[in-house]
Amino acid sequence: MKKYLLKRIVYLVIVFFFVSLMMYAIYNLIPSDPALVQMEPLRKSLKPDEWTRQYQELRQKLGLNDPLIVRYARWMGFARDVDGTFNGMLQGNFGYSISYKRNITEIVGVPMQNSIILNILSTVITLAITIPLGIYCAVHARKPVDSAIQAFTVVGYSLPTFLIAILFIYIFAVLLGWFPAGGAKTPGSTFTGAMEFFDRMHYLALPILVLVFTGLAGMTRTVRAAMMDTLSQDYIRTARAKGLKEKVVIYSHAWRNALLPVSTSIMGWMIGVFTGGSLVIENTFSLNGTGRLYWSALTTTDYELVLGMQMFYTLVSLIGVLLTDLSYTLVDPRVRIDK
């Protein structure tokens, strides 16, 4: 187990550096020249050849003439920066955001917190609904209730998140007026304590509802399929034949075996929500989360922030994959991964 874990982590680190190198290379496709930005005001006051000389000097000083791999190593913190210190990602320097005029580490805290709250809440609610629902559907397969739920889930997982978001805004914010259509708290409010909490939940309700709805559809299908697969196994027939209670058969014999494929897709789904889903949701509901931060960084061409966020996203999904693999052993003791 330890050996396997070590192997996976080494692999994860290699992939991470590979992806980050690729990202850094893509980022360098953008025509940006910090030396030119600094030198441009001096263009008129200096003679052309003097200016060119100083410009080249500055490029040298800033390390812009070095090969890509060297610059990458500096940015990552493997090599000494031009000022002779190690000052890269590994040292905690994620870069400087030009649109916020602050270090990236200072900016991402609050959005990250908001995104995590949003995702954890929607995940918990989704799982709380979807697992009993999926099991119910599998046990009552091809009965009217199951067919109705199946039809409903096809709609749910076919439609894009933003369409569901628009639809839900129309139904719950415009027609019924239950929830606000966007924002994070009542404008100008100075609630404290419980009131603040409820106000916040009131504003988060609709985004969570959309995320739950989209997650519900896909997850219910997965749980149902896994359960139906298990329920058709011979040992279930044996369990029933020897007169076990139906509850025991379903929850103890079948469900624990069905959990393996389910756990894989739960992790996959969570990663998808955290990266793609929250981008759309936070944009539609103007929530201050990582997705919106990333989006606004891209639209304002604040590429250092984009790069930092991208690293974060990559890390999240890589760790997600690792956790999926590890969850196999937790869920199913038969899976031996240390060989």
Partner: protein
């Protein structure tokens, strides 16, 4: 075997269409497993299984219909990307703009005025009618005519952008509509209750948030939004001489009793206020369009000045002297002395195309994009913009045209990115599965790296970085390539797994023994055998690509505006004001996109069931 031969011969006698329909919906009777094995190839079994599922078949038919619709309709519904008009913003769906009430025609037309997307008419009995898109906001509806107007005998009407003027037979003017910028705030002297009897109004004009009236004794009054429009009136200079006026979008000019046209304002901000030499004398009538003014001279000739944008000054050769001219937004229509009608100028909505059978016209009413002609028998003929099937969006663009053309774009991108995905996935998967070992290891690690990259953020940054310096068309291809490159690992894994099973089969061994080239074994012997399994994955990938493109466009990193796709059309509907008030901006495109996505998933599910040997019940 005998049985099948009989079937075959009887099929030949059938009309081919009935046969197709029968085969499509009522597949052959169940065969027992031995006959079937003898008779049918696995592909045929799959196809038969698929067509025995009514839901999947319905989904397939609906999807094919949508696909045909979005690929055929753009040939008929052309899209001009530069097309936009501030007066056509958020027009609700429907063809009601030229639907005048029948009573108006029956009672005889006294006057018709055309505003933005609505029209007002008065009949000979003094009744007033409003039709077209008269509902401006949730609370303001121009068709809610005030009681006092209904009671009065209306002889003349004028329609502005969002307000209406009506003149009764005693020279009193009434105004209603949007009053936010003072459009209906009459000057005190003109108000019905304190108007002295010597101020009788003769002519009324309404335009973009302002109004002009001319009295019997040659004075003019203006009111409305003077920030937007220049509506000063030099009373000292002009009082007593004004005969009529011509209103353009942002200002007006006056015709005086000596036959000259003057700029009534103290300064001239707009080109129409610079009156040319020809208009200094001998002018009979004037009329305005958005940015130009046309003047008819005593001799029946016409000339246009101002800032023509759509050919308002390209006056065709006229066969007879001009009797009367009407001005729309970008077009002019003239009624000649012989009763024929000619029209020229902007023709985007066929407003300058006079129907061939319009003749013997007595009265002509023109405005915005509409024309009404009344002939000698009192029949009304109309031409111009009737309305929009699915309404218009926030820039006045036809939602239907964008829906159709956007669908073509979305589906093309979806299909081509799937092709790219297929090429990469099948080649790499085939090679990895066939050779195994180091090649397999290498390819699978690459696949893992690609699939571990977060999809939407990565596609966004690629699109943002690569898409900045290219044309819209190149950007479209870039999006396709990005989608293809990021989504191949799934298919690759599937092909690889299938290859593992197939490469030990006898036919592969036989091919190897015969010395067939390895590339040939992979791509012409094995791949065709695993294609049917990949079909599910490809179908679902098409749906996913469409969704991803839409999500990217929705976030602003897909195909850029003004090129429409379903995704960026829905991007416009992101705020709750549009969602609430202008439902046609998202309902239609959302519905067709949703149905297409659901259909693809249903087809994929149907195919999966059809391919699954367990699903056949044995």
């Amino acid at each position: 075997m005998d049985n099948s031969k009989k079937n075959g011969s009887s099929e030949k006698k059938e009309f081919f269409l009935t046969r197709w329909v029968r085969r499509l919906f009522f597949p052959n009777k169940e065969m027992d497993i031995y006959t079937e094995e003898q008779m049918q190839s696995p592909v045929r079994v799959v196809i038969r299984n698929f067509f025995s599922k009514p839901i999947a078949v319905t989904a397939l038919i609906i999807f094919i219909l949508i696909a045909i619709f979005v690929f055929v309709a753009p040939n008929f519904v052309t899209l001009d990307l530069g097309d936009q008009d501030s007066t056509l913003v958020y027009v609700s769906p429907g063809y009601s703009m030229l639907k005048y009430p029948k009573e108006l025609e029956k009672n005889g037309v006294a006057d018709i005025a055309v505003g933005n997307n609505y029209s007002v008419g008065a009949d000979q009995l003094g009744n007033i009618y409003v039709w077209g898109k008269s509902k401006l906001t949730k609370v303001i509806d121009l068709s809610e005519i005030p009681e006092e107007v209904k009671n009065a005998k209306i002889v003349k009407v004028a329609a502005g952008a969002d307000h209406v003027l009506a003149l009764d037979d005693r020279g009193t003017v009434y105004a209603w509509g949007n009053n936010r910028l003072g459009q209906t705030r009459l000057p005190d002297e003109l108000k019905a209750n304190n108007r002295s009897h010597d101020v009788a109004i003769k002519e009324i004009y309404a335009s973009n948030q302002f109004s002009v009236v001319v009295t019997e004794d040659g004075r003019a009054f203006t009111w409305g939004n003077d920030n937007l429009a220049q509506i000063e009136y030099d009373a000292e200079r002009l009082d007593g001489h004004v005969v009529s006026a011509a209103v353009t979008n942002f200002t007006y000019v006056l015709l005086l009793d000596d036959g000259s046209v003057v700029n009534p304002c103290f300064t001239a901000k707009f080109t129409v206020q610079k009156i040319p030499e020809e208009a200094q004398s001998g002018v009979k009538a004037i009329v305005g369009t958005t940015n130009t003014v046309a003047a008819t001279k005593e001799d029946g000739t016409l000339f246009v000045w101002g800032a023509p944008t759509k050919g308002e000054n390209d006056i065709p050769t006229l066969t007879a002297p001009i009797k009367e001219v009407g001005g729309g937004r970008y077009h002019l229509t003239a009624l000649l002395e012989d009763g024929s009608v000619v029209s020229w100028g902007g023709n985007r909505y066929k407003q300058a195309e006079v129907p061939a059978d319009v003749g013997d016209v007595e009265k002509l009413f023109v405005g915005s994009f509409q024309n009404y002609a009344v002939d000698k028998d009192g029949n009304i003929r109309t031409w111009g913009l009737k309305g929009f099937l699915f309404g218009t969006d926030g820039l006045g663009r036809d939602v239907f045209a964008r829906l159709v053309n956007g669908g073509k774009m979305t589906m093309t991108i979806g299909a081509l990115s799937v092709v790219i995905e297929m090429i990469i996935g099948i080649i790499l998967g085939g090679v990895a599965g066939y050779f195994g070992g180091v090649v397999d290891m290498l390819i699978m690690r690459i696949a893992e790296i690609v699939s571990s990259m977060p999809f939407i953020p990565f596609a966004m940054i690629l699109s943002a970085v690569m898409g900045t310096r290219v044309s819209i068309e190149q950007r479209m291809y870039i999006i396709m390539v990005i989608l293809g490159i990021l989504s191949w690992p799934g298919l690759c894994r599937l092909v690889r797994a299938q290859m593992f099973a197939q490469r030990e089969m006898e036919y592969v061994v036989a091919a190897k023994a015969l010395g067939v080239k390895e590339s040939k074994i992979i791509f012409s012997h094995i791949i065709p055998n695993v294609m049917s399994v990949c079909l599910v994955s490809i179908t679902l990938a098409f749906g996913t690509s469409m969704l991803t493109e839409a999500s990217l466009s929705y976030l602003g990193f897909g195909v850029p505006l003004p090129t429409p796709t379903w995704g960026n059309m829905l991007d416009n509907a992101k705020n709750s004001i549009v969602i609430q008030n202008y439902w046609w901006n998202w309902v239609f495109v959302g519905a067709i996109f949703g149905v297409a996505c659901i259909c693809i998933n249903l087809i994929g599910d149907g195919l999966r069931d059809a391919l699954d040997p367990k699903a056949n019940g044995r």
